[in-house]
């Protein structure tokens, strides 16, 4: 397994300093040329899923047309080729996260499956009656539910870190929640409904001070910032490929090797087994112990291509551009009378969640859609966040590095139209 310097290739991809050429970048994304209701598509629903660059689509086609075969089980040429590319994708994910060992990268369907894996395997093994799991007030439903189920099963308790009116976690309250019964902390890195970037390093350090492991939900952060699990020192980190400009149905769970070693398998099936007799089964070593059955080979290869693409541009440059765009969007939306931004944390990325007068977000979404503008409306799977701000739902525009100021301008014009319809 590879343990080479994970950042060794950083400059190999020919990143040029200087202006961010968004027009050129948009050329890489075929779907951005589509028309919706006769209008050019303005795609501002990136937090739900991102669009895919041509190189990802090409990688999928290449795999299925030239080397489709099952992995880890064939002596024939195609199988070896597929295995090699599948494992190369794992290595790219390791580099992306700055993990040190491929064995720490478990390929899963996405964030949801990754967290299920930790809840089912680590949770069942380590969390018992009276124990506590700490989450934040801005977690995704998928999180809350996994931990609720686990807590019910085990007689454990869920503790929730509250937040202030800007959508920032109250770290003093977190400190108080950390106690002798705390067995796990599970926190979203970048909130999908508020855009808040949580101070995960501090959260992790405080938990580790008490010997408590921390899981970070990187579903939203991975596409928008440089991730370094080593520096962060998280115990688990999960993300979804489809939000990272890759295909659906693939994602990864990073876990520290010693933790993963100690955990029981999550599902049973081919590939996770070393030997089977009727008396005893010996599980395969990491990462295969957690990868039962035929994996999403094409998806992994596609995700690998997405990571190559990101490296070619440079995540730091993408993030800097997106930040400028977020500031522009914040400024433009703030000038609209009767519009209230939900989520105004100082550390924030990519998300512009808002409510507009007494107009329901659902109506906003329909009217914007008629202008070709795709946003998300609803509670964004974070109902407790909505309750916290006493609103049923928000309209959410979420950005990616292929969005432009013109997209923001179109959004503002669309909102003007909403106001016109309802005036």
């Amino acid at each position: 397994m590879t343990t080479a310097n994970p950042r060794a290739n950083e400059n190999a991809s020919g990143k040029a300093a200087g202006a961010f050429d968004v027009a050129r970048i948009r050329e890489d994304f075929p779907i951005l040329k589509e028309k919706v209701h006769g209008k050019p598509l303005v795609y501002l629903d990136n937090a739900a899923t991102s669009q895919k660059p041509r190189v990802v689509l090409d990688a999928l086609e290449h795999y299925y047309t030239t080397e489709n075969a099952n992995v880890h089980r064939g002596v024939h040429y195609l199988s070896q080729q597929a295995t090699q590319d599948y494992e190369a994708a794992r290595g790219k994910i390791r580099q992306l996260l700055n993990a040190s060992d491929d064995r720490e990268i478990i390929l899963v369907r996405g964030t949801t499956e990754g967290i299920n894996l930790v809840a089912q395997s680590y949770g069942r093994q380590n969390i018992g009656e009276g124990d506590e799991i700490i989450i934040s007030a801005m977690e995704h439903h998928s999180y809350i539910v996994h931990w609720q189920i686990l807590c019910q099963e085990r007689g454990a308790h869920l503790r929730v870190i509250p937040m202030n009116d800007d959508g920032e976690l109250l770290m003093d309250e977190y400190e108080k929640l950390l106690g002798p019964r705390t067995k796990l902390v599970s926190i979203v890195h970048l909130s999908n409904s508020l855009g808040t970037i949580n101070p995960v390093e501090q959260i992790i350090e405080m938990a580790h001070g008490r010997g408590v492991p921390v899981l970070i939900d990187g579903a939203q952060s991975t596409p928008h910032m440089t991730i370094d699990v080593h520096k962060m020192d998280c115990d688990f980190f999960v993300f979804s490929g489809h939000k990272l400009y890759g295909p659906t149905g693939i994602g990864a769970l990073y876990g520290k090797a010693d933790l993963l070693e100690s955990m029981p398998p999550y599902q049973s099936g081919g590939d996770m087994i070393k030997s089977v007799t009727f008396e005893k089964t010996i599980y395969n070593s990491l990462p295969y112990k957690f990868e039962a059955g035929t994996p999403n080979i094409g998806g992994a290869i596609g995700l690998g291509a997405a990571i190559d693409y990101i490296n070619g541009i440079g995540m730091d440059r993408m993030a800097a551009y997106e930040h400028e765009l977020l500031e522009y969007g914040t400024e433009r939306l703030s000038t609209i009378s009767g519009l209230r931004l939900i989520g105004t944390a100082r550390e924030k990325a990519d998300v512009l969640s808002f409510v507009l007068r007494d107009i329901h977000p659902h109506d906003i979404g329909t009217i914007l859609d008629s202008e070709g503008i795709a946003i998300r409306t609803g509670h964004h799977c974070t109902q407790p966040v909505m309750d916290r701000f006493s609103i049923p739902a928000t309209a959410r525009a979420s950005l990616a590095f292929y969005n432009t100021r013109e997209d923001i301008d179109a959004l503002v014009k669309g909102i003007d139209k909403v106001i016109e319809v309802f005036s």
């Binding site: 329901h360 329909t366 008629s370 609803g378 049923p392």
Partner: protein, 151 residues
């Protein structure tokens, strides 16, 4: 008229901003809550039934313009009707908003004002908004308790 203007007609917006029968009923009545977890629309329908006939109806809650206007119009349309008539109107209403929008449409006169919601047919994702309270009403008429959900 554009599809959008047809959906958000003046009368629809009027019903949503000044909903009719927007009140809780006094005295003995039946009530049931309807909820669309996808968009957070939530309405309680209050109902008085005498000898099978709806003698009074009111509602309260929050949601999008379509769901609120639809609920408001529903309360006006079903007062004084029995369960079978309500079913018949709902069926006509449902057919109207789920029809192929390209096809010719002749509204049945039993629909009355409900016809102004015919523009929903152009917006399939909004059908749920328009039928939420109808489902709640149906369940209430069947004597069900608890909450009705679209999901």
């Amino acid at each position: 008229m554009s599809e959008l203007q047809e959906l958000y007609q003046e009368m629809v917006l009027d019903h949503s901003s000044r909903p009719r029968n927007y009140r809780k009923l006094e005295g003995e009545h039946h009530s049931l809550e309807g909820y669309n977890p996808l968009c957070g629309d939530k309405y309680t329908v209050y109902l008085k039934v005498n000898a099978g006939v709806i003698t009074d109806i009111g509602f309260q809650g929050s949601g999008c313009a379509i769901s609120k206007a639809s609920t408001s119009m529903m309360t006006e349309s079903v007062k004084g009707r029995d369960k079978e008539e309500v079913q018949e109107i709902f069926d006509l209403f449902h057919q109207m908003i789920t029809r192929n929008p390209e096809s010719d449409f002749e509204p049945d006169e039993k629909l009355g004002d409900l016809e102004i919601l015919s523009g929903v047919a152009e917006f399939p994702v909004r059908v749920k908004c328009a039928v939420l309270s109808w489902h709640t009403l149906q369940a209430a008429l069947e004597g069900r308790d608890g909450m009705v959900s679209t999901e």
